[in-house]
Amino acid sequence: MSRIQGVLKDLKDQGRKALIPYITAGDPHPDATVGLMHSLVEAGADIIELGVPFSDPMADGPVIQLACERALKHGTSLRQVIGMVKEFRKEDDKTPVVLMGYLNPMEAMGYEAFADAAADAGVDGILTVDLPPEEADDVAPLFARRKLDAIFLLAPTTIDERIRAIAEHSSGYVYYVSFKGVTGAAKINVDEVAAKVAHIHEMTALPVGVGFGIRDAETAAAVGRVSDGVIVGSVLVDTIARNQADTEELKRALTDLLHPMREALDSLAS
């Protein structure tokens, strides 16, 4: 059982929901990322999605676009991001880390070299926004052989036939994109999400994490009620943008955001 599967199983046994924060590696500075990851764990994170910055993040709204620009200004590369995970693992061998990004930096590094380095550093899962399973025939086996979970997206527009096929290619969890839009837009409709996630649950035994549009305790609880976990991204990245100067202040601000979400999710526990 992978680290991701273990954590999600424990949570399920306890009747609890996963809190999965996302931050962009290298933002506001490469030196800050590992410390921020530990803060996220202290504030209640079960899994961390660590964004790999890309020059052309087509699926992201302005908040994460700017985070990528800040990280790239400091030259944050995929190799460095993997190095950050290795550093993080020195003090934390429990919290799963998922690398989330776009395909081209991996292609440039070479898929085999990337998979080796990621597995060696203690990365647990890979989520590539612009890699649907249809194009993953060469890459997916490299991940599977190294016990890296391949996490794919499901969307409101995904038809049943594809939901089944995508779930079959996935391991760890599937990531349900809560609305038709880019990250950071505020247009989540909880009833629609509930209906779709229930439908996805009928088609796969994998846990379903829901992301896009979760910004506070209220939306976290509403979505947590109908899913196995919530992914929180833009609101955290926006907080990083507004507290770049003072790392300690930033850690406090992130904790202030995540704590109420953690409590709201745990209050759902049966």
Binding site: Q65, N104, E107, R162
Partner: protein, 406 residues
């Protein structure tokens, strides 16, 4: 040319998942997959539908003004002293460039699919104008995404789009050019996927776009082939076209791919010179990667971040290229070369002065290389340059380079 491409090979490309050899494909976030698959299914049906084809042909004839002439540039040929130079006059199309061939086709598809809201990206503004034009004609809501830098250097086209009723969105992110316009168009599409049709202007992007844009633009090569046979009794020896994304070039090349004797030259933007790194020539100096939904040659750094590009022409200022060109390069069927900003400007001046035809700065790249190539060829040979667009939109840029206020 040693590569023999049979009908059979050509009709099998792209494959069912949109691949041209190792290139192409469909690399997008999941939200768009359903729309792309629907578009593919509908298009493959309409491609076989005689009624759709008849409507497309009628629009090309009566609205665009096709066929465009194949013109023998007698004086340019004499001055060059080599092969006979012929010009395919896409600049004479309605809206002044080849781009409208494709927007007519895609707008027909959009109407068929019942989509009322159209989005497009544009670099030089020619595709934006061609999209705004068909939207005006069909009464469709039109949003054009354009890099903020291009909005400045192509202000005439921006105003044309506005007159046609389009909303022009200046894109401030990234390098503020064509690639960033395409990013924002994709973001808009994901956010309005139910009611919006994205008219991509070039042969790049996720499958089926490289296929359908190539099909709509192939009218250029089909006409050229017929006209060359009518006028000279033989096929051209060489074809020359500029390549940004590569839609006018693929439109010219595709109908000739099976004709082994016809050489093909795609001309990329060499900017300040390939050796300076300040250019937009991924086929000449890039490597394969994934951007904007397809695998193709890209300009990128060693970490896979997309590199900034430079060209005097906004329409060529793009770090990627259509996947079919990437494949044609690898199999050696087409040759890809580059000319610098300065050479392109010389090409612009030469065609203007010698033939009274003012080409777009994008097209001027093809002119510059075509003249150079023709000079190396025999007098009884025939070379066709695709005059993909007219140069009115670039007058300000030329004047500025000449230090003249207009």
């Amino acid at each position: 040319m040693s590569v023999k491409l049979t009908e059979e090979m050509l009709s099998a490309l792209p494959d069912a998942r949109g691949h041209f050899g190792a290139y192409g494909g469909r690399f997008v976030s999941e939200t768009l997959m359903d729309s792309l698959m629907t578009l593919e299914k509908e298009y493959l049906q309409m491609k076989k539908d005689p009624e759709f084809q008849a409507k497309f042909d009628k629009d090309l004839a009566d609205y665009v003004g096709r066929p465009s002439p194949l013109y023998f540039a007698e004086r340019l040929t004499r001055e060059t002293g080599g092969a006979q130079i012929w010009l395919k006059r896409e600049d004479l199309n309605h809206t002044g460039a080849h781009k409208v061939n494709n927007t007519i086709g895609q707008a027909l598809l959009a109407s068929f699919l019942g989509k009322k809201r159209i989005i497009a990206e544009t670099g030089a503004g020619q595709h934006g104008v061609a999209t705004a034009t068909v939207c005006a004609r069909l009464g469709l809501e039109c949003h054009v995404f354009m890099g903020a830098e291009d909005v400045q250097r192509q202000s005439l086209n921006v105003y044309r789009m506005k007159l046609l009723g389009a909303q022009v969105h200046a894109v401030e992110s990234g390098t503020r050019t064509l690639k960033d316009a395409m990013n924002d168009a994709m973001r808009d599409w994901v956010s309005h996927v139910d009611d919006t049709f994205y008219i991509i202007g070039t042969v790049a992007g996720p499958h089926p776009y490289p296929l359908l844009v190539r099909d709509f633009q192939s009218v250029i090569g089909r006409e050229t082939r017929r006209q060359a046979l009518d006028k000279t009794g033989k096929l051209p020896d060489a074809l020359v076209a500029c390549v940004g994304g590569g839609s006018n070039a693929i439109g010219m090349f595709y109908p000739f791919l099976g004709d082994e004797t016809v050489e093909m030259y795609g001309v990329e933007a060499g900017g300040l010179g390939i050796e300076t790194g300040q250019h937009a020539a991924p086929l000449c100096a890039g490597r394969p990667g994934v951007l904007h939904g397809n695998r193709t040659y890209l300009m990128e750094d060693e970490n896979g971040q997309i590199a900034g590009t430079h060209s005097v022409s906004a329409g060529l200022d793009y770090p990627g290229v259509g996947p079919e060109h990437a494949w044609l390069k690898d199999i050696g069927r087409a040759n890809y070369v580059s000319v610098t900003d300065d050479e392109a400007l010389d090409g612009f001046r030469m065609l203007t002065r010698v033939e009274g035809i003012m080409p777009a700065l994008e097209t001027a790249h093809a002119v510059a290389y075509g003249v150079k190539k023709a000079a190396e060829m025999d007098k009884d040979q025939m070379l066709v340059i695709n005059i993909s667009g007219r140069g009115d939109k670039d007058i300000h840029t030329i004047a500025q380079l000449d230090g003249i206020e207009i």
